[in-house]
Symmetry: C3
Subunit: 153 residues, 3 copies
C-alpha cells in the first residue's frame, strides 16, 4: 500500500488485547528452558502473551545483539546461576507461537550476567504466563534493526 | 482529618483494581523510551497499571536515588545495551498518567547496570501494559523519603 | 498412587487460573520487605498469584542456592540499593500463602547483586499483585533439587 524509498523506520505500533488464561507451571529439571517455554505455549495454543520466570539454571547462554553488525554475540555461562529476573512476551513467528525472553542471571561469587536468554538447562524454574486474546501479532524482519519485530501488515 | 507533628512515616497503603485493557506495542526506533511509554499511556488514558519492556537501547541514563541527600545520581551509559529487565507501574502525578520504571541493562563486554530508568534511546523495545481500573492512585511528596509516593488522601 | 524407586525427576506441571483481584500497594518505610509482602497476601487471602516490586531498600540479603550442597548462601548488602527488578509468584506452603521472590539490586557505585530475595529493609517499595483464582498450588520438598516446588498431589 505504502512505498518507501530506502530504509523504513519502524514506527510505534500498539495492539489491544483482552486477558485470557493464566498459567503457572514448574518446568522440568534438566530440560532446556526456551524449549520448555515454547512447548508450554504451543501445546496450550497461546498466540500472544506476557511471561515471567524465576528459578535457577545449571548452565546458560545469554545473547547480546550487536546493533552495528546485526548479529548476536553469545556469552556461555558454565556454572549454576539464579534466574534473578526473566521476562518476555509471546507472539507469532513463522505462523507459530514464539517466546522472546530476556533474563538476569547471578552466579555464586556474585557475578551477574544479563541479556537475551538464548538457552539454559533448568535446575528449577517457575513460569507465569498471561495469555492475551486479540489480533494476531506477527514478527517479521525489520530492515533498520535486523530483528524480527511486530510490523504493520 | 489526622494531624501529625514532625515527619509522618509512610504507611502500608493498598488499593484494589480490576483488570482493564492489555496492550502490546513495539516502540519507535530512535525515540526516547520514557517519552514513548508516557505517550502510549496518556494517549490511551491508562491511569493505573503495570508495565514490562524488553528490547535494546543505544544509549541510556540510569538513576540511583541517594537516600541521605534525597537526590538522584545519574549514570550515563554511552554504548548500546540490552534492556534485560524493565518493569514498572502507572499512576497519577500532577493529574496525568505517569510511568515509574526500573531497569537492568547489559553491555557487550558483560557489564551490567541497574536502577531507575531516567531515559534511553530506543534501538528496539517491546512494551506490555496491563491497565488497572479502580480508584485514582495519586503520587505526592513524601517527607521521609523525598519521593513522590502513593499517599492517603 | 505411583511408586518410584530412587529419585523422582520433577516433571512439567501446568495449572490454569482465572485472573482475580489486582493490588497496587506502597509498602511501609522501615519495614522488612518479605514480611510486608507476606502480610499483604495473607491479609487479602491471595492463594496464588504473580507479583512485581520496584523501589529501594537500605539494606538487603540475597540468597544464592548451592545446587550441589542444597543450601542457600546468603550475601549481606549493608548499603542502600535500588530494587531494579523484583518479581515472583504466590502459592501455598504449609497451608498458607507464600511469596517466592527474586530480585536485582544496584548500589550507588554501580555494583549489581541478584538472586533470591531473602530479606530487605524498605526505603520505598511499590508492589503489584495479580491474584490468580483456581486450583491450590502447593509447595512440597523435591528430592532432586532440595527445594519446595509445586508437585503433583
Amino acid at each position: 500500500m505504502h512505498q518507501n524509498s530506502g530504509k523504513e523506520r519502524s514506527r510505534l505500533l500498539i495492539r489491544e488485547f483482552e486477558g485470557g488464561r493464566h498459567l503457572l507451571a514448574t518446568l522440568e529439571h534438566g530440560a532446556e528452558i526456551i524449549g520448555q517455554i515454547t512447548r508450554v505455549i504451543r501445546e496450550n495454543d497461546i498466540r500472544a502473551g506476557h511471561l515471567n520466570v524465576i528459578g535457577a539454571l545449571d548452565q546458560a547462554e545469554i545473547g547480546y545483539y550487536d546493533q552495528v553488525s546485526h548479529s548476536y554475540q553469545g556469552i556461555q555461562i558454565n556454572e549454576p546461576v539464579e534466574l534473578a529476573s526473566c521476562s518476555g512476551n509471546i507472539s507469532l513467528l513463522a505462523g507459530r507461537p514464539y517466546a522472546h525472553v530476556h533474563a538476569v542471571l547471578s552466579g555464586m561469587k556474585g557475578k551477574v550476567w544479563a541479556g537475551h536468554l538464548t538457552s539454559g538447562r533448568i535446575f528449577a524454574a517457575e513460569l507465569y504466563v498471561q495469555e492475551l486474546v486479540g489480533p494476531d501479532l506477527i514478527r517479521s524482519k525489520d530492515s533498520i534493526t535486523g530483528l524480527n519485530l511486530w510490523r504493520e501488515e
